[in-house]
C-alpha cells in the first residue's frame, strides 16, 4: 500500500557508506541538507525516488514511500537504519499548554471562590462584627469564632434591664436575692452593663460589638440593691442557687475592702472551693480602692479568696488602672490572678437607671471581670470536657504578658481568646 506520508529515518551513523547502503536498499537518492538553499528547499527535493539527509542530525526524510519495503529493509542484518517512524503532525504545544493551564487555574479559582463563599456564610457574624469596643479588641475577639453557646453565665449584680432591645431573643432567667426588688428592672444599671460585657452582642444603636459570649445562656442573680449594696448572706444564697442550677461561670463585680494583712474570708474560700468541686468557676473583681501609683490597696473580698479568680483592670494603654487593687496581701492569698479591660468600657445600660440611656461607658474592676467571665464561657464551649480548674488554668496560661507591669498588679496578664 502506497503511503503518501513522510517517514523519518535514523541511521546508525552519518558515514558515506551508511548513506550509500541506505540509498541502495531503499532505491532512493538522498540530497544532503548541506545542498539546500533559498532556491533549493526541502520540499523541492522530496518526492518519488528522492529523500533528504539531514547531515547534522544523522536523520533522513523520505516521502511517498512503501511502508512494506521500509519494513523489509530494516529487518536485514546489515541494515544501517536503526529506527524509523511516520512523520507526525505536531500542534503548537506551548499554546495548548497555556490554554490547559488557564483552564486548570479557572477551575482552581472557581473552587476557591466556592470555598470563600462557604466560609463567609459560615462565619458571617465574625466578618460583620469588626466594630469592637477597645476592650473586646484587646482580648482578641477579632480572631474568635466561639460564642459561648450552651454555657450558662450567672451575673451576680444589681439585676438586669430585661427589656433591653439588644437582648430580645436571648435565653435569660433570673432571681432576686434583695428583698422587695425585682431582678429584671435594674434601677442602678451596673448589672446590665456587666451582663452586656460578659454575654451581650452588638449595639442596635451604633452597631458596636461590646459583648463577649454572645450566645451564652444568661442567668441574673440580683444580690446588690438598686443603690448598689448587698450582704454576704445574699451573695451566698445566690451562689448556692446558681450551683444548684449548674451554672458554669459566676461573675461577681462586687467587693468589700480589706485591710493590709487581713486574711481572706474562710466563708468565701469554702464557697469558691465548693464551686470548683462542682465544676463551676467564680470570677470576682479585685476592687477599686487604690489610688496609684502612690497608694495601691489589697485585693478585696471575695476576690482575695484563693479559690476565686481575681480580676484586675487595665486601661487602654494596657497598664494597670489607677484604681485597680493589687496583690498586697499575697502571703494570705489575695493575689491578682488575671487582668482585663476596665477603663472606659462601653456596654449596655438600663433605661430604669440614671438618665435612662441604653448604653453607657464605665470604669472599674467591675468592668474587667465580665470580660473574663465571657471568655471563660468561650473556653468552656471550646473545651467542654475541661474542669473549672482546667478552664482557670487555661485562661491564665493563654493570658498575654504585659511588659513593665507587675505580677502583683496584673497577675498572669491580659486575658485572651482561645
Amino acid at each position: 500500500m502506497k503511503n503518501s506520508n513522510k517517514y523519518i529515518i535514523q541511521l546508525k551513523d552519518d558515514s558515506k557508506s551508511s548513506i550509500r547502503k541506505t540509498e541502495k536498499d531503499l532505491s532512493i537518492k538522498f540530497t544532503s541538507s548541506a545542498e539546500l538553499s533559498s532556491d533549493v528547499r526541502a520540499q523541492d527535493v522530496l518526492g518519488s525516488g528522492n529523500g533528504l539527509f539531514l547531515k547534522n542530525l544523522g536523520l533522513a526524510i523520505v516521502e511517498d514511500y512503501e511502508v512494506a519495503k521500509l519494513h523489509s529493509v530494516t529487518t536485514a542484518a546489515s541494515n544501517p537504519i536503526i529506527y524509523w517512524e511516520e512523520d507526525r503532525v505536531f500542534n503548537p504545544v506551548v499554546e495548548l499548554d497555556l490554554i490547559s493551564e488557564m483552564k486548570d487555574q479557572m477551575l482552581g479559582l472557581s473552587n476557591k471562590l466556592g470555598e470563600l463563599e462557604a466560609f463567609i456564610k459560615e462565619n458571617k457574624k465574625t466578618i460583620v462584627d469588626k466594630n469592637f469596643t477597645w476592650g473586646l479588641a484587646a482580648i482578641g475577639m477579632g480572631l474568635n469564632n466561639f460564642t459561648g453557646k450552651g454555657v450558662d453565665i450567672c451575673i451576680l449584680d444589681t439585676g438586669f434591664y430585661a427589656k433591653h432591645p439588644d437582648f430580645k431573643d436571648r435565653n435569660i432567667s433570673g432571681k432576686s436575692f434583695v428583698f422587695g426588688e425585682k431582678w429584671d428592672v435594674d434601677a442602678h444599671g451596673h448589672g446590665t452593663h456587666c451582663t452586656g460585657t460578659a454575654a451581650g452582642f452588638i449595639s442596635t444603636k451604633d452597631k458596636k460589638r461590646y459583648g463577649v459570649a454572645s450566645e451564652a445562656n444568661i442567668a441574673i442573680a440580683k444580690v446588690l440593691s438598686d443603690s448598689g449594696s448587698g450582704s454576704t448572706s445574699a451573695i451566698i444564697d445566690a451562689i448556692d442557687n446558681s450551683l444548684e442550677k449548674g451554672h458554669k461561670v459566676l461573675s461577681m463585680s462586687l467587693g468589700s475592702p480589706v485591710q493590709i494583712g487581713e486574711k481572706p474570708s474562710p466563708i468565701f474560700e469554702q464557697v469558691g472551693r465548693k464551686a470548683l468541686e462542682q465544676n463551676s468557676l467564680i470570677i470576682a473583681a479585685a476592687g477599686n480602692d487604690s489610688n496609684r501609683p502612690s497608694l495601691p490597696r489589697p485585693v478585696s473580698s471575695p476576690a482575695n479568696a484563693e479559690s476565686i479568680m481575681s480580676v484586675a483592670a487595665l486601661d487602654e494603654a494596657l497598664k494597670v488602672a489607677r484604681f485597680s487593687n493589687g496583690g498586697i496581701n499575697a502571703s494570705n492569698g489575695g493575689l491578682v490572678d488575671i487582668s482585663a479591660p476596665g477603663v472606659n468600657v462601653y456596654s449596655s445600660s438600663s433605661k430604669n437607671a440614671g438618665n435612662g440611656d441604653l448604653y453607657k461607658t464605665m470604669s472599674g474592676t467591675s468592668m474587667a471581670t465580665p470580660h473574663v467571665a465571657g471568655l471563660a464561657a468561650l473556653y468552656w464551649e471550646a473545651f467542654p470536657n475541661l474542669s473549672a480548674e482546667g478552664i482557670w488554668l487555661k485562661l491564665e496560661k493563654r493570658a498575654k504578658q504585659l511588659p513593665n507591669q507587675l505580677l502583683r498588679d496584673v497577675g498572669q496578664g491580659l486575658a485572651q481568646i482561645i
Binding site: 444580690v223 448556692d240 450551683l243 468589700s256 469554702q270 462542682q278
Partner: protein
Amino acid sequence: MKIYMATLKENVVLNAHILNYFASMGFTVINYHPNLKILKLQADKTLTEMSLKYILSIEEDKSFNL
C-alpha cells in the same frame, strides 16, 4: 440582733442535736446551705463573747458594694 455566716466542719451533720446546741448558745440557725456547708445564724451576742463548737469559722454578715 446580728447576722453571722459560719462554715460547718466537714464531718458535722446539722441535726436536731446541733441545732439545740446552737440555740443553747444563743444562736438561731436561720438558713443552711448543705451544698456549701455554710450556716446563716442570728444572735444578740458578739463574736468576742463566746466560741462555738462544730464550726470552722464564723464572721459577721457584711456589706458588699460595686
